[in-house]
Amino acid sequence: MIIPVRCFSCGAVVADKYEAFLERKESEDPKDVLDSLGVKRYCCRRMILSNADLLDEVIEFDEKSLKFK
């Protein structure tokens, strides 16, 4: 849906690094991006790497279904 604010396992904040990750992963190796963002534990790394951003679709659905009400 949307990136969780903190890592489920350790409690470190990950939501403030997600946008920078998305932008930089296009031109850099994702591994290096995570390292330079200071996301070093694998629990936090999976939070960012395995996130599926579905909110955009939900917003689109919500706004379109509102028109037919």
Partner: protein, 258 residues
């Protein structure tokens, strides 16, 4: 007992604790994670929320945002002299945003500039027709009650002790096996370059044919890594945790329990 700081970088701190027992080492870790007070949002009042995320989801996300905390200026709400919340035990924050766009913790306006949320935390996303309008109250709390008050992430390991015996044939297999590049061959001799990076995985001694490498952890020396969530400075977290631990120990000894 001694503490030696070996690395400090903005929100993180690493140090070596020596001549200590495992129980003390773990007590320090648990105090840092669970007892150091920080600010976090505890109550949210929604005036409007037409976003695609439910009130509860937004309230939950808000609660997990670390808020920069000056511990000298705030009391715990239940220890405060007031009846039902006052500026010395509560911080009010408000958020009002119309779409389209991202809602970040920067949009969360604090009533007191000493206590601002850390920037850049993604809270929600709004479509063209959506908006959020809310008020929130943050109070002091402890990590043992809820993760949102957790001040830092902290862990420790035994100090690695790597010994290389004369049976070493300098084949270099261990250098390749080590995931942390702790070993290197220098001037035809196997040497330990950075023992603190060793994670005690023993991949080197597993591949060593003559069994020349021995990796052990020193049970009286610990390497700690502390990373704050952003509400307090790492040194502040550590010294506060040690104060709390000492207070608790004093309380026990005053009751004759230790």
């Amino acid at each position: 007992m001694g503490v030696e700081i070996i690395g400090e970088n903005g929100g993180s701190l690493s140090f070596v604790l020596s001549d200590a027992s495992v129980s003390l080492a773990n007590a320090i870790r648990r105090t840092v994670i669970g007892e150091v007070p920080t600010l976090a949002i505890d109550e949210v009042e929604f005036y409007d929320n037409t976003s695609s995320l439910y009130d509860e989801i937004i309230a939950h996300r808000l609660s997990l945002v670390p808020i920069v905390t000056d511990l000298s200026l705030l009391n715990f709400k239940d220890e405060c002299s007031c009846e039902d919340g006052c500026p010395s035990c509560e911080v009010e924050l408000s958020l009002k945003k119309k779409g389209p766009g991202m809602v970040r913790s920067d949009d969360l306006k604090s009533s007191n500039k000493n206590f601002a949320p850390i920037p850049g935390v993604l809270l929600a996303k709004l479509g063209k027709t959506q908006e959020i309008d809310l008020k929130a109250r943050a109070v002091l709390g402890r990590g043992c009650d809820n993760t949102r008050w957790q001040a830092a992430v902290m862990g420790y390991k035994y100090y690695p002790v790597i010994s290389i015996s004369d049976d070493c044939t300098v084949c270099g297999d261990c250098v390749k096996a080590c995931p942390r590049s702790v070993l290197a061959v220098k001037a035809d001799k196997l040497t330990v370059v950075s023992e603190r990076d060793c994670i005690l995985c023993r991949a080197c001694s597993d591949v060593c044919e003559p069994g020349a490498i021995k990796v052990d952890g020193d049970e009286h020396r610990f390497i700690y890594e502390l990373e704050t969530t952003g509400s307090l400075k790492p040194r502040e977290v550590l010294s506060k945790a040690l104060d709390i631990l000492k207070e608790k120990a004093d309380e026990l000894s005053s009751k004759g329990m230790i």
